[in-house]
Amino acid sequence: MATKDIVLAALFAAIIILLGIVPAISLGFIPVPVTAQSLGVMLAGAVLGAKRGVMATLLVMLIAAIGMPILAGGRGGIGVFMAPTTGYLIGWAFAAAVTGYLAERLITPEQTGLTQIVYFFIASVIGGIVVLYALGITWVAFFTGIGLSKAFLGSLIFIPGDILKAGIAALAGRAVMVGYPLLPQRA
């Protein structure tokens, strides 16, 4: 692994951590503030690609595990891996992997800007919502005994906010690609 890959993953992990510290995004039209940390996870895949994106999310998890309060809301410590919502945390690595994999394969430099944004959006939705929720919901269901279908219904209220984040991730991912392309493009 090249030193630059480690550095890129570490820098992006720092960005994800910052997104958990800065005030949550206030959208104006949705009353609930949306924490930007899961936006950072979608972006890690979209900007860095699968491998380095996964590394960035794993670094954030490791730093939380060793006892630094860097997750949204100042959470941290080994306990975050033994909580009902742990699936959503571990799911970050899978979300970044799928978002990154899809972005690497769907997006080519020749496409128009709009096509690229749409593909980034699709990659972010599948990775950052479908995959992440599948893991998160399964974990909650088994950890609390609430049952899969009810855990699924309960998590639906978070979907609109996350679709919005996928939109921001798509626009930002495309803009970063234009300004500083890093995504390992594949034919």
């Binding site: 992990a13 975050v80 909650v140």
Partner: protein
């Protein structure tokens, strides 16, 4: 950066990091094998005593416990309503127990000790050629070194927006933040290689 480690000299503080982490893992597995409510209550009392033995102040304890306790209460309350009351009570006991034990471990184990254990745990992966264990420490060090820098850059960008009468929005801040931050990667990587940090 702040850490969740609290200095002290309690029995848990003196125990080795490895024994605490393995103990926590075993507690996690055992808790889910126990289904008897009286036994779970007994274990919960024991874990509360364990947490108290760390001699953390009441304010500090609440600050550590409340956020997750709220999530646990909501989820277990829902479980009681939607499934059976018994299922809800059992998961409430289990999750609270784990919260108490893991909070005790986090508060009494220094970051450097956990890091050593993570590096040790990664050594088998190194033998398989998947990664270099030393890189983990390097990468974590880099992240901790760069969080304040990224935060400062974020503030500069926000001020630049405000100075021009633009309301700072996540999207318009995020793009320059990512590009400016990642553009440093080449120089940082070159600096690391020039110093021969990675053999």
């Amino acid at each position: 950066m702040k850490t969740l480690y609290a200095e002290g000299d309690s029995i848990l503080h003196r125990a080795s990091a490895r024994s605490k982490l393995v103990g926590l893992l075993l507690a996690g597995i055992l808790t889910f094998l126990v289904t008897s409510i009286p036994l779970l209550i007994g274990l919960l009392v024991a874990s509360a005593l364990l947490l108290l033995s760390t001699r953390l102040g009441l304010k500090d304890l609440l600050r550590r416990l409340v956020p997750l306790a709220v999530t646990i209460s909501i989820l277990c309350g829902l479980t009681m309503l939607l499934q059976t009351v018994e299922t809800g009570i059992i998961s409430l006991l289990r999750l609270t127990l784990l919260l108490l034990v893991s909070t005790a471990v986090t508060a009494t184990t220094a970051i450097s000790d956990v890091m050593d254990e993570i590096t040790a745990a990664a050594t088998p992966l190194e033998r398989l050629g998947l990664l270099r264990a030393a890189d983990i420490g390097l990468a974590i060090g880099l992240v901790i070194r760069f969080v304040p820098e990224v935060a400062e850059r974020y503030e500069v960008l926000r001020d630049a927006h405000t100075a021009r009468g633009i309301r700072p929005k996540t999207l318009s801040l995020l793009v320059p933040l990512i590009i400016l931050t990642l553009r440093d990667a080449d120089e940082i990587a070159a600096a690391i290689d020039a110093r021969g940090v990675r053999r």
